[in-house]
Amino acid sequence: MTRLSSTARADVLVIGGGVIGLAVAWRAAQRGLRTAVVDPSPGGGAGRVAAGMLAPVTELQYGEEPLLRLGMASNERYADFAAELTGASGGQDTGYRRCGTVAVALDSDDREELRELHAFHRRLGLESTWLTGREARKLEPMLAPGVRGGLHVADDHQVDGRRLLTALLQACENAGVLVHRAEAVELLVEGDRAVGARLSTHETLAAGQVVLAAGPHSHRLAGLPGGVLPAIRPVKGQVLRLRVPDAYRPFLSRNVRAVVRGQHIYLVPRENGELVIGATTEEQGYDTTVTAGGVYELLRDAHELVPGLTELPLLETSAGLRPGSPDNAPLLGPTALPGLVAATGHYRNGVLLTPVTADLVAEYLATGELPELAQPFTPTRFSPARSTTKALA
């Protein structure tokens, strides 16, 4: 481990070494800022569990058009981002795959829901093609014969979160980022300004600016004044990893999503044969236990969608914590506390939003100007004090 003495001072200290923290640190270092990252196990976080589907269009929800714009901006940057990262990390492949996504429905109720999503796509002018069930199965012959219809979104792709993390960590180190394998236990504030952090190793790191990228732990950092950050709640997702043996390849050629009786499920086939199935959505605190029910529901719905997958080896079950902000959108840029910058609360879109978050936050760190694209996502959009308490009946 590289040790920074308590008197050394970084320009930027990033708390949290997941996809967001590492990408911000890498970009900041590229801008000539002396940058440090603190995380007990850098390269971890929700990105290690996530399937890595880059699907701003197929995951669109009503009322989330600003988030769509940010997601599409990030998606457009992904190819260049991945190529640059591979170069900067000494050739680490990120598993970025321009494969497109097909979203299908298995009964007439789910088909109506998908129809509604398609109509919403059309209103917003998004690329999205309606498929009959037979057309969907022509694209993906392993889909169940009962598929009633689908949507093809050619620009929703995928990346491998684990390989992305490995590449980011390597790129950070190559760019001169100091990576401290310790926990930040307290934010240091002097005269109403964030000035650094104290670590579990009792070291003190001073910094011109502190970036909080600690996902669902962000708001729990000691020393953080009240009202600066809303609670970023942990939203558990269980995920399965299967392997497609060579004899079965390609099995699936693009991301497959479905609503199965109202439940969302997705299958992400990697070029290396890994097939990721996700994910549950559970509000169970900081628990990352894999449960029988979680695995059962994923397999049940996946099996209904792609019956042949029960033949595949099941390699891994895991659970991660999405960092959920109150409005599902990330917190980007300066907080109400001078010197403290947020890059957290990405909920189910952390991997997708990594390139754009890194660019926007690094721009702010280097210039003090927050780009227009990030303006709807400033942490100050959450009013700290609410006065809407109503008398109990």
Binding site: R233, E282, G285, Y286, A393
Partner: protein, 265 residues
């Protein structure tokens, strides 16, 4: 309507909407929808929430002064439902429970046998039990007999938005019930809520109809007005239905205008 309160087990509410939280696009939208609905009682699935986490749906309810009604969604046996209710009581410090025991995942219809068993056990254990039940007048009466504090019949399956499929059964249930009857499940839009109230329901329980609407906040406001309108109409008393027209003003005693001055056709 301060003079017309909903009373369940001795607790009075001025709102006649009970809200659910499932399906909301985000907590922020959910919060605004709950406020727009005016609800004072909102149900939360105990299998889907952790009471100790900051920033959870429970925080949203607490800071807005909305009572939490834990429910046993996802339970298939009386045993599971009783266990879940007890865990909820421990975690939240309330002995109120919206009891759900589901027969199968395809229909999400209540299992009447397991439901009655669980209701009896929980009432005996000191719970205030609000059971989600079929629109069966006989089962409703038996649930009241074992001591449930309200009866919550379904209008149609959960999340279907098909409204009240058997209004006559609702009238039969309302007619004989000595506890509040609350429409649970099936409402799709405002007219469904108004109809429930006109049929004599004491309140309406809503989740998907609001949380999955294109604009949940606007729909929540519509539902509030619908509940109020339906309740007022119920209290006012509707006119009898007739097959033929009946002029609203009688012909006798009207001014006798001189028809000779009308233009010829």
């Amino acid at each position: 309507m301060a003079d017309d309160l909903l009373t369940i087990a001795g607790t009075a509410f001025s709102s006649r909407l009970i809200m659910g939280t499932g399906g909301a696009p985000s907590l922020e939208v959910l919060e605004r929808a709950l406020l727009a609905s005016g609800t004072e009682l909102t149900t939360v699935a105990m299998r889907r929430v952790d009471a100790t986490t900051q920033g959870s749906v429970l925080d949203v309810l607490t800071r807005n002064g909305i009572h939490v009604l834990p429910n046993t969604a996802g339970c298939f046996t009386a045993g599971e439902a009783v266990l879940t209710a007890r865990l909820a009581r421990e975690a939240l410090g309330t002995d109120w429970v919206k009891l759900e025991v589901i027969a199968d995942e395809r229909t999400l219809l209540p299992d009447p046998i397991e439901l009655l068993d669980a209701a009896e056990t929980l009432v005996d254990d000191g719970f205030t039990v609000l059971p989600y039940t079929n629109d069966d007048p006989v089962l409703a009466r038996k649930l009241e007999d074992v001591g449930c504090a309200a009866i919550m019949p379904l209008g149609s399956p959960i999340g279907s938005g098909l409204g009240i499929r058997n209004p006559h059964n609702f009238q039969l249930i309302v007619e004989s019930a000595g506890v509040p009857v609350i429409l649970d499940a099936g409402a799709g839009t405002a007219s469904d809520v108004a109809l429930a109230m006109e049929l004599g329901c004491a309140a309406v329980m809503l989740a998907s109809a609001v949380t999955r609407a294109q604009d949940p906040v606007l729909m929540a406001e519509a539902m509030r007005h619908a509940a109020e309108a339906g309740r007022l109409a119920h209290r006012a008393g509707r006119i009898p239905r007739r097959f033929h027209a009946e002029a609203s003003s009688a012909m006798a005693g009207r001014a006798d205008l001189d028809t000779r001055e009308r233009p010829a056709f």
